[in-house]
């Protein structure tokens, strides 16, 4: 019978235990998979209604007399497409709306922007215009609400 050699015994001692490692790796895997599937973070768009208390922040009907300083952005819904009008002039793309708003904002930012979306316009598109008005730097952005 062969006596186990000294070298053989040494090799046995170096053996790596797999089970605890798999335990830990599994745990980490589960943790990261779980955290990765969390929801996107929500942000808030404050409406300018909050800044001015009470005085005609929401206009109940389309403004009867158009003041010169107001920037009126109409968001129309034609043939299932969004069409914009800035102060009565047709604008073809959202980029162009942005350029025009920035142009006005460069002169004066305290001019109120009045958004007047059609009923059928998706909220996402309304928020897009609201967003670019905010980016352009306007202080007062109001919604025209016709009854």
């Amino acid at each position: 019978m062969r006596r186990p050699s000294v070298f053989h015994r040494d090799q046995g001692g170096l053996e790596i235990k797999m089970t605890p490692m798999i335990d830990v790796v599994f745990l980490l895997l589960v943790f990261f998979v779980w955290t990765a599937s969390f929801h996107a973070v929500e942000y808030l768009l404050p409406s300018s209604l909050s800044q001015q208390l009470g005085n005609a922040a929401v206009i109940d009907s389309p403004p009867p007399e158009v003041e010169f300083e107001d920037v009126i952005v109409r968001i129309l819904w034609q043939d299932d497409q969004v069409v914009w009008q800035v102060n009565g002039q047709d604008v073809l793309s959202l980029d162009e709306v942005k350029q025009r708003l920035q142009l006005v904002a460069g002169i004066k930012t305290d001019a109120p922007v009045i958004l007047h979306p059609d009923e059928e316009v998706p909220v996402g598109d309304v928020i897009d215009v609201y967003d670019i008005s905010r980016i352009a730097g306007f202080d007062k952005i109001q919604f025209a609400i016709a009854q």
Binding site: E42, Y43, L44, L45
Partner: protein, 128 residues
């Protein structure tokens, strides 16, 4: 030691995840509009009403479906109780027609709530 650490770790992760999920459950899953000028949600104790508008155009208030009239009534009750600093947060599906959201804003204006905010997702790139 090792089995104990294993078990403790597992428990920690379990409670972390379950508490996170429990917090998430309070929010209705909606396809919110995207905007790049959104601001961080601040955790405050200020009174707040969250109105969800689902993709079918239903108003959800505190987990229950309400009509526009009920909404205005309830908002009126809340502002009488909480006063002017009441915040109304509109969480609306991005594809719903604006006509569905308008009654909410109108109701807020009628009862005198001016602190109206929209919940949005942060846009990855500049808006189209």
């Amino acid at each position: 030691m090792t089995p104990m650490i294993d078990v403790v770790f597992l428990l920690i992760i379990f409670f972390l995840v379950s508490s996170h999920l429990a917090r998430q459950e309070t929010q209705l899953e909606l396809d919110l509009p995207e905007a790049s000028s959104g601001e961080q949600v601040e955790v405050t104790m200020a009174p707040r009403v969250v109105i969800n508008v689902t993709e079918f155009g239903e108003f959800m208030l505190a987990g229950r479906q309400v009509t526009a009239e009920q909404l205005q009534q309830q908002l009126g009750n809340r502002i009488r109780k909480e006063g002017r600093e009441l915040e109304v947060r509109i969480r609306s599906d991005r594809n719903i027609a604006f006509a569905k959201v308008r009654p909410i804003m109108l109701a807020c204006a009628k009862v005198g709530i001016w602190n109206v905010t929209f919940a949005v997702y942060q846009a990855m790139e500049a808006p189209r």
